[in-house]
């Protein structure tokens, strides 16, 4: 393979992965813009992309700060979920009876409607940052607990035998075998939970209102909801981008970790 072959590969790979979504986006946005213009839809009903872009530009300062705040709340909550999730998985992995007892309540974490729980938590614990983080933890914890527990429990039986034959203690089996074995699953679960974390932060901020001096995207969306649909949609796009960014960062970490394990990242969309 010559150097020119390498260059060709890079460009064509770029074209293969970037062009189709880009073209689709252009098609989608032009259709949207034309439909609004043709049918004379007022901005209060459906703003066209051009108007949303303008609103994003006009509110740029506030949007950037709001995104930063939401990012902070989601990241803090997600990190807490990782820590709590690993600890709880460690406990669950120790005995089947523990898993059987706690499993229905772990499911509860997944199915509880966050829009009902968020106002309740805000009422109990105040409207501050710590409550938002709490909401993020509740919504993002379940995938981590489930996957990490599985990773710890589903160790190759022969590996467990190996440790037993060498008279390993429970701690050694946990830290040298179960915990590392669960790392790939922890990372992939964190990817899932990242999106949930952003949702949780936004829902929390939506209900927390104007209490905090620095408010997140959720509050921005809430106060723009009635009068400024274009600004609201700009904020919605910002939240999607935030979720995307977190996903990408974690994916990058995942690829590095999986390389260590000799596994390949799965990506059905490519």
């Amino acid at each position: 393979m010559s150097l020119s072959d390498c260059e060709d590969l890079d460009v064509s790979k770029l074209a293969k992965n970037v062009l189709p979504p880009l073209l689709l986006l252009v098609a989608f946005l032009s259709t949207w813009e034309s439909v609004v213009w043709l049918l004379k839809i007022p901005a209060i009903t459906l703003p066209p992309p051009s108007r949303i872009a303008l609103a994003a530009y006009k509110n740029a300062d506030e949007l950037v700060i709001a995104t930063g705040y939401t990012a902070l709340a989601s990241t803090c909550g997600l990190l807490c979920s990782v820590v709590i999730g690993v600890v709880m998985a460690a406990i669950f992995s120790q005995a089947a009876i523990i898993r059987r007892s706690f499993f229905p309540y772990a499911i509860f974490l997944q199915t509880v409607p966050i829009v009902a729980v968020a106002p309740l938590l805000l009422h109990w614990f105040g409207n501050g940052f710590q409550t938002i983080v709490m909401i993020v933890i509740i919504i993002s914890l379940f995938p981590i607990i489930v996957n990490v527990t599985y990773g710890m429990v589903s160790v190759d039986r022969q590996l467990v035998n190996l440790f037993q034959l060498n008279r390993a203690s429970r701690w050694q089996i946990f830290f040298k075998l179960q915990l590392p074995n669960s790392v790939p699953l922890l990372i992939s679960a964190t990817k899932t939970s990242a999106g949930l974390a952003v949702i949780g932060a936004i829902v929390g901020e939506f209900f927390a209102g104007l209490s905090t001096p620095l408010s997140g995207l959720g509050y921005f969306i809430m106060k723009s909801l009635e009068y400024k649909i274009d600004a609201m949609m700009a904020a919605v796009i910002a939240s999607a981008l935030l979720g995307n960014a977190m996903f990408t960062v974690i994916s990058f970490i995942e690829s590095k970790i999986l390389a260590r394990f000799g596994q390949v990242q799965s990506n059905v969309f490519q």
Binding site: T31, P42, I44, T45, K58, G209, E226, I229, D230
Partner: protein, 335 residues
């Protein structure tokens, strides 16, 4: 069998486009239906649960003023989630109630809504504090918790004036429960509503009127779509005329209409309603305004509101306020 990713995206795109089209189309034109009696069916969306705030409209219906104009008006109760401007724009209703600031902000978003009459001349918006707090002015709002609705223009106005910076702000969720329970608590409200409820429950409310700070939008306006005015001015004239009659009637003697309101709103009690009307009258007819001028609007008030909204950055661009309202359908002012 198995859809590849491209066709999945296209399917999704098609669904979105179709839903967009459906939301923008639809809705009826006025005069589409006649009821059995040959009366024209009209839908009027009010902006909250039925209250004395809407008294004149209920009076017009109860006393038959709408019927005399050949109209069968359905008054649709509202609530916290209902947006009258959206309802009118999408032609789901023919007429609705909103405040002047909502109309201007709607117009800024290309909503062709036009105010027709403003029964409530002075804004009832207030901040309700406990008498025991000793606070009698906005400048004194320090060290307490106030619940407010985040996105509202009056909140932005009070913030701009610097009245809220020493208070702890929490979201307004409706009701007066927390006010009754906590001494250092204040909340937003309408002077003819929440303070009266609080007094009935034995509390000590004091209402600080937001209009005293200079922010005084017309409140509870009847409005409609600009196209309705263009295409069917006779209909608009009839609705306004009957509404004015209804309001005059209601402010003079609300007793019969109150019974109707109590029937449609089970959560309202008679004491609050009666006292509420008493508090409402001076807002509808301030400074001894004669009753047959009910609903009048001046361009100076609209312009002032417009400029304030620009100042607090709720309006990003100037509008021509002349397009936001019309007094053409009001009875001529008595000389």
């Amino acid at each position: 069998m198995y859809f590849n990713n491209t066709s999945r995206y296209l399917f999704f795109l098609a669904t979105v486009a179709i839903s967009m089209l459906l939301t923008s189309c639809g809705g009826r034109q006025p005069n589409d239906d006649n009821n059995e009696n040959g009366l024209t069916k009209i839908r009027l969306q009010i902006n909250w649960f039925p209250e004395h705030e809407h008294g004149g409209f209920y009076a017009a219906k109860a006393k038959g003023y709408f019927a005399e104009e050949g109209l069968d008006v359905e008054i649709i109760p509202g609530g916290p989630k209902v947006n009258g401007v959206q309802e009118v724009v999408s032609r789901r209703v023919d007429f609705a109630i909103a405040n002047a600031d909502q109309i201007l902000l709607g117009r800024a978003q290309q909503a062709n809504v036009v105010g027709l009459m403003s029964p409530i001349q002075d804004s009832p918006r207030c901040i309700m504090v406990h008498k025991s707090s000793g606070i009698s002015k906005f400048e004194e709002l320090k060290g307490i918790t106030i619940s407010l609705s985040g996105g509202k223009p009056f909140v932005a106005y009070l913030t701009k004036k610097g009245f809220l910076q020493d208070a702890q702000l929490v979201p307004f969720l409706g009701g007066i429960r927390r006010f009754l329970e906590e001494k250092d608590f204040a909340q937003q409200g309408y002077v003819f509503s929440e303070p009266i409820q609080a007094t009935t429950h034995g509390s000590d409310p004091v209402a600080l009127m937001v209009s005293d700070t200079g922010f005084n939008p017309y409140t509870g306006l009847l409005f409609t779509h600009g196209d309705t005015i263009r295409d069917n001015p006779e209909l608009v004239e009839k609705v306004v005329r009957a509404s004015v009659r209804g309001w005059k009637d209601f402010l003079a003697d609300p007793s019969e209409t109150n019974k109707v309101i109590l029937q449609v709103n089970e959560d309202l009690d008679e004491v609050t309603l009666t006292k509420g009307v008493a508090a409402l009258v001076p807002l509808c007819l301030p400074n001894d305004m004669p009753a047959d001028q009910i609903g009048k609007m001046t361009i100076e008030r609209w312009q002032q509101l417009h400029d304030q909204l620009i100042e607090i950055e709720m309006l990003e661009e100037s509008l021509d306020v002349k397009n936001a309202f019309t007094i053409d359908f009001l009875p001529p002012a008595t000389p």
